[in-house]
């Protein structure tokens, strides 16, 4: 099975096949939702994290579970509540009487795929601890830094309409999520299929892992080698600049946001079977990657940021030679 030749294209081909398998698996379970599935796959392959922002009952948790199952590796799930403590996420050191030493008991973040349900119900303190782990890919407890597993993919869900007893995430924290997506209610046909037993949990139970952490980590590394022409990079910068210049936007996309967009575009290119990024990758991901990072002059829902981002995109011409 091991290939002796190491072509740059070979890794990307494998990454493409893996991405396709992942997307296929997700589509099997999450019927009739190609766009959220695409974005979830992109988020996973770009080495970032995913925030699912939607009302309950549309399959947020199912999506996260499916990703975990299809990706193989370890999976942990955290139910965020106001009384959830940071140490309950990261783990604690306890004194072991028998061995007469401190023993670290890892928390639920030490898994390849972590699902945090109802993230906005955790306290800001807990949210910060979580988001720091997301950014650093490591956790420091009692002065000892411990790396998180590789790959480390965090899927969080939140309900945008639930306000009572929640602590909405601030922009700086939202920035840690590569992609924010909604799922949306299924159409009538799909819902009927769901009721009749196609997709959903039944499909999840039948799902077999399509990969394992080692392959997935290799694929994520390979995605970063995707070729990006200077013109495409310029186009990305132009989009970021357009958000900064827009009168309705208080704070535009940061350089980190541009970088995240580029990485997501690379993952999208691989998913489409290309070894290079085209402007279409950027344009298709600009809204889900950038919208949640914008700070509007009149703070509002994510919906408005999305619409604004969309109109900004219309003003940036596609690069041509």
């Amino acid at each position: 099975m091991m290939r002796t030749d190491a072509r740059p294209g070979a890794d990307l081909t494998e990454a493409h096949e893996l991405a396709g398998a992942l997307r296929h698996a997700l589509n099997q379970v999450l019927r009739g939702k190609p766009e959220p599935v695409r974005l979830a796959t992109v988020a996973l392959l770009s080495g970032g994290h995913l925030l699912v922002d939607d009302v309950p009952g549309v399959g947020k948790t199912l999506l996260a579970k499916t990703i975990a199952r299809a990706a193989g590796g370890s999976f942990r799930r955290v139910q965020a509540t106001p009384d959830l403590l940071p140490s309950e996420l990261t783990g604690v050191s306890i004194f072991h009487l028998a061995g007469n030493e401190w023993e670290f008991r890892p928390g639920p973040l030490f898994a390849n795929v972590v699902l945090v349900d109802e993230l906005n119900r955790a306290t800001p303190r807990t949210q910060s601890a979580l988001l720091e782990a997301m950014e650093e890919h490591q956790i420091t407890v009692d002065g000892i830094t411990r790396p998180l597993p590789d790959p480390f993919f965090l899927v969080a869900t939140q309900n945008p309409f639930e306000t009572a007893g929640t602590f909405p995430l601030v922009e700086g924290q939202l920035d840690r999520f590569t992609i924010v997506t909604e799922i949306g209610a299924p159409d009538a046909g799909t819902e009927r299929e769901l009721l009749l037993g196609a997709g959903g949990d039944a499909a999840l139970n039948e799902l077999e892992p399509v990969t394992d952490p080692v392959q997935l980590a290799a694929a994520i590394a390979a995605v970063r080698t995707t070729h990006c022409a200077p013109e495409v990079a310029d186009y990305t910068v132009a989009i970021a600049n357009a958000t900064r210049a827009n009168g309705n936007i208080a704070i535009g996309a940061s350089p980190r946001a541009s970088l995240a967009l580029l990485h997501a575009a690379q993952a999208h290119a691989v998913l489409e079977g290309r070894t290079y990024v085209v402007p279409d990758d950027i344009a298709r991901l600009a809204v889900p990657v950038l919208a949640h990072r914008l700070v509007l002059r009149d703070p509002g829902r994510l919906e408005e940021a999305r619409a604004l981002m969309h109109s900004v995109l219309q003003t940036v011409p596609i690069p041509r030679p």
Partner: protein, 315 residues
């Protein structure tokens, strides 16, 4: 001349001179005799033309073949005796190709392009290369040349054995044992267990107290299916008919999986013995595709598992 680092194209070789060329040559000979006996200059001109056409028509296919490059890919898995759709990308025009590895039907290539070609594998194993023969007499159809390629697949194809329908008797363990739960919690990637370890944020009313009491950790109920039976199949290909053993092992593992069992498969692979769980029929096929004659791998056989030993050296 080689299209890629993996694909090797041999040199074009002439194979047959078709009837048309023979007829032309005969006519040329007749013309020569006629011209020599009648002194007809135009027939000499015609003869020169025919010689030139035969020469050109005989040489040109070599140049047509020299331009051909082939790339091939296929699905990761295939089964002996079942149609296997391969995708070939061929640059070249007016040639016909055949996959020698599978003795496939001839298929023509009009223009550079990619397309499917369906073959039927006859042998189990891991397929890394295709032998492809390209034949052309283009453009004049006067002489046929062939060129053979060894085309590396972009990814190897595991050709699973033909399924020999075999029933797999299963002894079903009916109680949860500590070792079962051990497997559950450490397996990690398996969500469909009856109970799982508590994670932060779980509602307190989901705690499965009896399991908590037994294991000493807080366990949470998940309202899903019953325990799966466990089957271990040892496929030892060292017998007189390795292919039959592989086929039987595949059939048996399929049967066990159909009945919802967890299946562990012990085989020998090129780089040593192998023992591991096969989650699906696909994985059964892959494992058995890679299996070679040799001592099968061993592993810890859990309590309550049904063990089937296939093949092996008959004492």
């Amino acid at each position: 001349m080689t299209p890629g680092p993996d694909s090797q194209g041999g040199f074009p070789r002439p194979i047959i001179v078709p009837k048309a060329a023979v007829i032309l040559e005969l006519i040329g000979l007749a013309l020569f005799i006629v011209a020599r006996t009648t002194g007809a200059g135009w027939d000499i001109v015609l003869l020169c033309g025919i010689i030139a056409v035969v020469l050109t028509g005989s040489a040109l296919p070599a140049f047509v073949l020299a331009r051909v490059t082939i790339a091939a890919r296929g699905p990761a898995d295939a089964t002996v005796g079942r149609p296997l759709p391969l995708t070939l990308s061929v640059t070249g025009r007016a040639v016909k190709i055949q996959i020698l590895t599978f003795d496939s039907d001839w298929i023509r290539v009009d223009a550079p392009g990619t397309g499917p070609i369906v073959v039927t594998p006859q042998r189990r194993g891991v397929l890394t290369h295709l032998r492809v023969e390209v034949v052309t007499a283009a453009p004049l159809g006067l002489a046929r040349w062939r060129r053979r390629f060894r085309v590396a697949l972009t990814a190897p194809i595991d050709v699973a054995p033909r399924r020999e329908p075999t029933r797999c008797p299963i002894v079903i363990g009916d109680t949860l044992t500590p070792s079962d739960t051990e497997a559950t919690t450490n397996g990690g990637n398996d969500l469909t267990r009856g109970v799982r370890e508590y994670v932060d944020g779980d509602p307190i009313r989901s705690v499965h107290w009896p399991a908590t009491a037994r294991t000493g950790t807080v366990m949470i109920r998940e309202l899903e299916g019953p325990r799966r039976p466990h089957v271990v199949i040892i496929a030892d290909l060292r017998g007189p008919d390795p292919e039959l053993i592989a086929s039987r092992a595949a059939g048996m593992a399929d049967d066990a999986l159909r009945h919802g069992a967890r299946v562990d498969l012990a085989t020998a692979e090129a780089d040593g013995p192998r023992f591991g769980t096969v989650p699906s029929a696909l994985h059964v096929g892959r494992r058995l595709a890679r299996a070679v004659v040799g001592p099968p791998g061993s592993g810890s056989i859990p309590h309550g598992a049904t063990v089937h030993h296939l093949g092996g050296v008959v004492p």
